[in-house]
């Protein structure tokens, strides 16, 4: 049941939940998805899970391995570690990377609550206090003022919200830092320039860099795996080569076009770095690039170095050190190959992490030009080197804007120029462009699925987006008309896959989701059979 929350509630009530998610209390979805009783229910925690796991926030657990203190000493240790992390976040040596943005966001919020109305999670929850962008930020602010700044204890008393730092506060804050997509829609709407998403990320950083707590999908099976074996998918270099080789053969057979992937070509013009997850989950995507690059006569290559065939950088979501390690690895690989530029795959956070956030970490000869896949594809489509027949794409298409490519990087129009040219039934969602709603998979969520987190993702985080999608295809609701969500980002596609599966939207509305390159290949005159397979997705 939803209830009004005070800031101080975060520290109270020990193991009791602060709120509970009830699907019938969320904003309603358009028909045929408006009948809550006809949808699969929300996966509740069992008694055994409640006993074993830390579940004192909203009945959802995103990280089963969050340790529980066994006694008072252990609790004290966590509190001390948290305070030490807060201090490091505010120090030049440990956090020069984001010190200025963080302090400006901590110190100059006017507490006007304007940003809340921009948050898709808060809106989807029908204004649940816990999910306000300002709720976690204000708590963080109060803790910084109390525990790091001079006269903090007195300030806390005068603030009217004296929050005690105990195990309950810390564990709830950890979970709460993973109830935000880092989409920065709230930041965009703040008249003061305050960034609640940045505060959330700093909180995640504190947990990761000081206490060693981070979702296993992002850290242990994410960046750590990527740096050790090559990819968070677990694919080692030889497996990646084998998989793509197999796909090349398979697609050569099914399309009738010779498909081949170039590996480790020194001196190539372009090093293309896909998300390796595409090879497994959306193989049409990397194959499309191979077809397009070969058809346009581009000198290109993939890399089989450890980490070089997977462009994802989960460090962007939780840890500066891991972010830097992955970005530097990518740049070192490109330097070794001697390519003229690196082209990002269809991956939003890869774009943001590598093109701008890590830009100031890539100095000297690691500063290799980096191109977005959007401008790369636009240049290719309008180069005249490939012939297209847009009537092949004569089905309803809508475009999802990945936050990290659009709001966070300002690449808005190239993808639209392609779709306007190649897709006669292209229509926008409302709102779109830099005002878009996150798919709900942002901030690392699309790969996170511990305990019952997927249920929260599809019910709450992705709700506004799912609503938008259904509304974009208004007028053609039935499954007889096949519809395509173009989501040029692996993480977004994975989130859409979860949403479409959960709501049965493929069967009920005929909606599938794929990337941009597939639509381009589908419209090629040389492509004798439809490239987009509506059935398999």
């Amino acid at each position: 049941m939803k209830k009004s929350l005070k800031l101080t509630d975060i520290a109270r009530g020990e193991d009791t939940q602060l709120t509970e998610i009830n699907p019938d209390e969320l904003i309603p979805l358009p028909p045929p998805y408006d009948k809550v009783e006809e949808l699969p229910g929300f996966k509740r925690l069992t008694e055994e899970q409640r006993e074993r796991l830390v579940c004192n926030l909203d009945g959802v657990v995103s990280y089963a391995a969050l340790p529980k203190p066994g006694n008072k000493q252990e609790e004290k240790k966590y509190v001390e570690q948290f305070v030490s992390g807060l201090k490091k976040l505010l120090s030049k040596e440990n956090n020069w990377t984001f010190l200025q943005p963080l302090l400006l966001s901590i110190d100059y919020c006017a507490r006007c609550q304007t940003c809340n109305d921009a948050c898709p999670i808060y809106l989807a929850s029908d204004l649940n206090d816990l999910y306000r962008p300002t709720y976690r930020s204000e708590i963080f602010r109060l803790l910084v003022n109390k525990y790091v700044r001079p006269g903090g204890k007195l300030r806390a008393k005068l603030s009217g919200s004296d929050i005690e730092l105990n195990w309950t506060t810390i564990s709830r804050l950890y979970e709460l830092s993973y109830r935000c997509n880092l989409c920065r829609r709230c930041a965009q709407s703040c008249p003061m320039g305050v960034d609640n998403a940045l505060i959330t990320r700093e909180l995640r950083k504190l947990f990761s860099q000081e206490l060693g707590w981070a979702p296993k999908e992002l850290h242990e099976k994410g960046t750590v795996l990527q740096l050790e074996v090559g990819s968070p998918t677990g694919m080692r270099p030889n497996v990646a080569i084998d998989n793509l080789h197999f796909l090349d053969e398979e697609f050569t057979e099914t399309t009738g076009i010779e498909v081949s992937t170039t590996w480790d070509k020194e001196g190539a013009d372009i090093l293309l770095i896909h998300s390796a997850g595409d090879i497994i989950a959306f193989p049409e995507s990397p194959i499309s690039f191979s077809i397009l690059c070969n058809a346009a006569g581009i000198s290109w290559t993939l890399s089989s170095e450890v980490g070089g065939y997977d462009g994802v950088n989960y460090g962007l979501f939780y840890d500066d050190i891991q972010l830097a390690r992955v970005a530097i690895r990518h740049a070192q690989i490109a330097k070794k190959l001697g390519v003229k530029k690196i082209v990002m795959g269809e991956c939003g956070h890869q774009h943001k992490a590598f093109m701008t956030v890590a830009d100031r970490l890539l100095t000297g000869d690691l500063d290799i030009p980096r191109e977005s896949v959007m401008t790369f594809l636009e240049n290719l489509v309008f180069s005249g080197k490939i012939e297209f027949d847009p009537s092949k794409n004569d089905f309803p298409v809508t475009l999802h804007d990945p936050c990290n490519i659009v709001r966070n990087l300002g690449i808005v129009e190239p993808q639209r120029r392609i779709l306007n040219y190649l897709c006669p039934q292209f229509r926008e969602m409302t709102p779109h462009g830099v005002d878009n709603y996150c798919c709900g998979g942002g901030g690392g969520f699309s790969v996170m699925s511990d305990v019952n987190f997927t249920d929260w993702k599809v019910h709450v985080a992705g709700r506004m987006k799912f609503k938008q999608v259904i509304e974009a295809f208004d007028g053609q609701p039935g499954p007889e008309v096949k519809k395509y969500i173009c989501a040029p980002c692996l993480n977004c596609k994975m989130q859409f896959r979860d949403l479409l599966d959960y709501y049965g939207a493929r069967e009920k509305s005929g909606i599938i989701c794929g990337g941009l390159a597939e639509l381009i290949v589908n419209a090629m005159v040389d492509m004798k059979k439809p490239f987009i397979g509506w059935e398999e997705r």
């Binding site: 570690q81 030490s84 020069w96 984001f98 010190l99 005068l158 930041a187 500066d320 530097i328 500063d367």
Partner: protein, 307 residues
């Protein structure tokens, strides 16, 4: 009393300038940070729909068409009209706008008083009947800015109090200091209004005080005007202990973070190299403590080269 008013006013102005300067210098001297821009970036030529220079194929080969002027105009407009609030939170704007207009005009009122006093020292009489156009201009400017400031400021202070108390969401995030601020500003604006209406309808006392301030020859002022002068001086001393600097820090937040899309230059690279050479002391197991940022990020031992 007259001397006390002059001393207090001087102290208040010096205090606020020094305190603000210290705070601003602290922010300015913070190290360069990683890029974290957010679109629309207003100085971009195609900012209407949020586009950046990354929309240009091989953008690094092209000249950037950045126009700082557009950003500054946007921020100034924002600081005077609060258009973002008007667009996104109209109910709040209705009370916030008069409150801030009260501040802006009270500052202008004091600036005009200062220059008006200079003009008076130069021998120009400042009054409605002055034979000099300059004298009449200053007279009406002081009158208008003063009165409008006191009225709008009072409306805004009361409005914000009511808004924050009556709106459940705002109430949950309002601190006792916020309420104190609204009450304090209300008292200041009302004291000015009272002094003008009942004691000094042409602000002649106030003009005289400012002339005395500049020539260091205190003149006696009426108790109501004196009360307003004292309250305003105390307010100036109090301001650095509030979040009032957001009027200035907003420029930093926009220009240096939200719109900071600057690629590296030589000076920045030098600074970055220095920062990358600093040792890191985070405690998580994946961060070997004591080694430098560069060593940790490039996974090299200290005797190898940094990135």
């Amino acid at each position: 009393m007259s001397f006390f008013l002059i001393a207090l006013t001087y102290f208040a102005y010096v205090f606020i300038v020094v305190m603000y300067a210290v705070k601003v210098v602290k922010i300015v001297r913070m190290p360069v940070h990683l890029r974290w821009e957010l679109y629309p970036v207003i100085h971009e030529p195609k900012s209407d729909y949020g586009s950046s220079y990354y929309e240009d194929f091989e953008q690094w080969k092209k000249n950037r068409r950045k126009t700082l002027r557009k950003g500054i105009f946007f921020l100034l407009r924002e600081n005077f009209c609060f258009s973002e609030y008007f667009k996104r939170n109209r109910g709040y704007w209705l009370v916030l706008f008069p409150w801030h207009i009260g501040f802006i005009l009270i500052v202008i009122f004091h600036i005009v008083c200062f220059f008006g006093a200079l003009v008076m020292v130069a021998g120009v009489s400042v009054s409605a009947e002055s034979t000099f156009i300059l004298g009449r201009t200053f007279y009406y400017l002081i009158l208008l800015t003063g009165v409008i400031s006191f009225v709008t400021g009072s409306i805004g202070s009361i409005g914000l109090l009511i808004k924050r108390l009556s709106d459940k969401d705002l109430r949950a995030f309002t601190t006792p200091q916020n309420y104190f601020n609204y009450l304090f500003t209300l008292v200041i604006f009302l004291s000015g209004l009272y002094a003008w209406y009942f004691v000094d309808p042409t602000f002649s006392e106030y003009r005289g005080f400012w002339k005395g301030l500049i020539t260091l020859s205190p003149v006696p002022v009426d108790y109501a005007a004196a009360a307003h002068i004292i309250l305003f001086a105390l307010f100036l001393i109090y301001l650095p202990f509030t979040r009032s600097l957001h009027y200035i820090t907003k420029f930093f937040a926009y220009l240096w973070i939200r719109w900071n899309d600057a690629p590296k230059d030589k000076k920045m690279v030098e600074e970055l190299n220095g920062l990358l050479d600093q040792p890191v002391s985070w405690s998580a197991p994946h961060i070997p403590s004591g080694r430098t940022w560069a060593e940790i990020a490039s996974e090299k031992t200290s005797d190898e080269e940094k990135p």
